[in-house]
């Protein structure tokens, strides 16, 4: 093996194709897109160099700022909820329903494999207010409450989107965190129990610190995934009502491909990338000390 890996040609042969594909498909478009951030225009009208004007425009654009605020709010709330519920489910799988957990795991994981557009349509029908009354409004009517136009108002739309994504993703995080929890040595848990630790105390003092690395990975996965949310929202609300559920990704898409402003669209993409990097760094930094101690 050492002989093969010591051969430059072998390394080139093994890595070359993958690197080439990665470069052509990923790196070139990324750098191309970075280049667009200092230009204005599109393939039809041609491109004009505008320096940093697109970045200045971003900070003065109320729609961009509202999309940024929506993105951050959505990412934080959904990350807390999906990792939190995922962790609770993982604890349940590990400590409460050990034997039946494979069935429960499958049930909770099922929404993950469903196509987003299908789930979007499902939730549209669930929360429908007109022309037919969906099951949720039907239940409200049964309780004597009037129907709610869930997709007609910013707040209710936001929470339906959150609910949809939570339902879709918590099974995935439960499995991810479960893999971390089953790695905790049984002897350690047993000795903690002998020392009198149980319930919340066991979780807080033993389980949580030992599952912190996988929890951290889940947080990074989650925050980056939620900051880049696109398909769920397009399928469910298409950013509406108005632009109240429009995240940066959708605004970037509209700006580039509907409004024909490639430069500004690329700038929005760059700002989103920077946001993802900053948040990831923040999570790493805030947990570094604990990790080294662990």
């Amino acid at each position: 093996m050492n002989k093969v890996l010591g051969d430059r040609r072998a390394i080139f042969l093994l890595l070359g194709p993958a690197l080439l594909v990665y470069t052509v498909v990923m790196l070139v478009p990324i750098f191309w897109s970075m280049g667009y951030t200092v230009f204005d225009g599109n393939a039809l009208t041609g491109f004009t160099f505008v320096g940093l004007d697109n970045f200045a425009k971003f900070f003065g654009d109320p729609t961009a700022l509202s999309a940024t605020w929506f993105t951050i709010r959505y990412a934080i709330i959904l990350t807390v909820l999906q990792v939190g519920f995922g962790y609770l489910l993982a604890l349940l799988y590990t400590f409460r329903i050990k034997r039946a957990s494979s069935l429960i795991r499958t049930i909770f994981f099922f929404p993950v494999v469903l196509p987003t557009v299908g789930v979007g349509l499902l939730f549209q029908k669930l929360f429908e207010a007109a022309p037919t009354t969906g099951p949720v409004n039907g239940f409200l009517n049964f309780l004597g409450a009037p129907s709610v136009d869930w997709f007609g108002y910013a707040d209710s739309s936001f929470w339906v989107v959150i609910l949809l994504d939570l339902w879709r993703s918590m099974g995935f995080y439960a499995i991810l965190l479960y893999a971390g929890l089953v790695d905790i040595p049984e002897e350690l848990l047993e000795s903690a129990r002998i020392d009198g630790a149980s319930g919340w105390k066991l979780v807080r003092s033993i389980v949580l610190p030992l599952s912190l690395p996988v929890l951290l990975s889940s947080l990074i996965f989650s925050i980056n995934g939620t900051l880049k949310v696109f398909d769920t929202i397009v399928a469910l609300t298409n950013g509406g009502p108005g632009n109240t559920t429009t995240p940066l990704t959708l605004y970037m898409f509209q700006t580039s491909f509907s409004y024909g402003e490639y430069g500004y669209g690329s700038t929005i993409a760059m700002m989103l990338t920077i946001l993802c990097l900053l948040v990831t760094l923040l999570i790493f930094r805030s947990t570094r000390r604990d990790l080294t101690k662990g």
């Binding site: 070359g16 194709p17 594909v21 729609t63 207010a129 022309p131 007609g152 950013g239 108005g242 491909f257």
Partner: protein, 436 residues
């Protein structure tokens, strides 16, 4: 043998690299639904949702345009309308527009095509073919006004008027005459609401059926040049007289006149609500007469559908005979690949499309009709009469706005319909987007 192995080893990385490169190129390539014109073909690109144009072209290719089809075979293709402008933009950027296609949905994108010489100036070509008279002047002027040009860059494969369609029986039963003024319309809506009948059916999900009301109110109150002034920068949508129009529509929304959840109502549902007798009025274009004439859809009866133009606003500078008109999505010819064969197709379409589409589909186009069918449905005749009698026409609210302002306007139209935003908020959002 060992030399061959050595050579093979040297060649292998190269083969691997080339293979990977080819793989990557293959992954990146794709038909994309468009494709430039090829010799011996006449390519057409349309939207999946619109089958009228392509069906008519197919009919023509086997009949009046047989010769043109033999020289350049009609090769139709279609893509979803939801990403229409995006696809056209990409195709145009690559010089890959089809010979003939539906035009861009947003007039501002058409202006870019015209400025970039992507689409053919049809005025010159039709003059050359001696077919200028085959386009109805009203349709030609609507297209020219849309594109802000003196020349014609698209064909009016549809010519629509818009206004309020109403359920005659419902009005009669409630003692209401077709409203001639805005106040009468609002009073009628209040009467219906009190009687437990939904006054208006409108798609808040689409938004435009609501924003059309704002635009028309502006034309009636401030005159037909109201939105041209905004486009020219002489007025702003946030000026009080403009905000008033949006407020008037928002008031209808706040009163619940568009139903309980108008933002959940899509286009088909809005038509369906009206045609099943669940709403009294429907603001819609005359393209919907295909549905009105369909007995399976129209449960209230074809003879029970009435039409009234958008009413006057008392004391306003505009008039209800300035009928809101549009050409749907017209069709355009690409400059790239415009050969003599393509020109022959242009001539044949202009000469024969209007008669064929009216006979086969009951669609009123902007072409001169030479042989009107004897058995036209009443609604189609009504539309023809209104078009013939209208002294002038007006465009729609977003016609002269940017693509971004159009999106913002239509995505917030539902907010006016359910009363969740005020007229002032709406106009500010659209004005900001139009400036940006």
């Amino acid at each position: 043998m060992s030399t061959a192995i050595k050579r093979g080893r040297r060649v292998m990385p190269l083969v691997a690299l080339v293979s990977a490169g080819v793989l990557a190129m293959t992954a990146c390539s794709g038909d994309g639904g468009g494709g430039a014109a090829g010799s011996g073909t006449f390519t057409y690109l349309g939207q999946n949702e619109n089958t009228t144009i392509v069906d008519t072209l197919k009919t023509l290719s086997g009949d009046q345009c047989k010769t043109e089809n033999a020289a350049a075979k009609l090769t139709p293709d279609a893509i979803p309308g939801t990403t229409w402008d995006q696809q056209l933009q990409l195709l145009a950027g690559q010089g890959g527009l089809s010979n003939f296609s539906m035009a861009a949905g947003t007039p501002s994108l058409m202006k870019q095509f015209i400025e970039g010489d992507q689409v053919k100036d049809l005025s010159t070509e039709l003059k050359d073919l001696d077919l200028e008279d085959k386009i109805l002047p009203a349709a030609a002027s609507t297209i020219k006004a849309l594109h802000g040009t003196d020349d014609l860059y698209a064909l009016p494969t549809e010519f629509n008027i818009e206004g309020f369609w109403f359920n005659k029986k419902m009005l009669e039963d409630n003692g209401i005459t077709p409203p001639e003024t805005w106040d009468e319309l609002v009073d009628a809506a209040a009467t219906f609401q009190a009687a437990g009948i939904q006054p208006f059916s409108a798609s808040g999900e689409q938004g435009w059926p609501i924003t059309r009301l704002v635009g028309n109110y502006l034309f009636r109150e401030l005159g037909p040049d109201a939105l041209q002034k905004v486009a020219d920068g002489d007025a702003k949508l946030t000026d009080p007289e403009y905000v008033k129009a949006a407020d008037e529509v928002a008031k209808l929304g706040s009163a619940g006149y568009f139903g309980d959840a108008p933002t959940s109502i899509d286009y088909d549902t809005s038509i369906n609500l009206f045609l099943t007798g669940k709403a009294a009025f429907l603001y819609m274009g005359s393209w919907a007469i295909t549905a009105f004439n369909d007995e399976a859809q129209n449960q209230i009866g074809v003879d029970n559908v009435g039409f009234v133009p958008f009413p006057d606003v008392e004391g306003g500078k505009g008039s209800s005979d300035q009928v809101p008109a549009n050409v749907g999505i017209p069709t355009m010819f690409a400059s790239n690949g415009f050969t003599d064969d393509t020109k022959a197709w242009l001539g044949c379409i202009v000469e024969n499309y209007g008669d064929t589409v009216l006979k086969d589909n009951g669609v009123v186009s902007g072409f001169q009709i030479d042989n009107p069918p004897a058995d036209l449905p009443a609604t189609t005749k009504l539309v023809q009469d209104v078009i013939a009698k209208a002294p002038s026409s007006v465009l729609w609210f977003e016609a002269l706005m940017s693509a971004q302002a159009t999106t913002v306007s239509q995505s917030n139209g539902g907010g006016l319909a359910n009363g969740s935003i005020t007229g002032e908020q709406f106009m500010k959002l659209v004005q900001d987007a139009n400036q940006g």
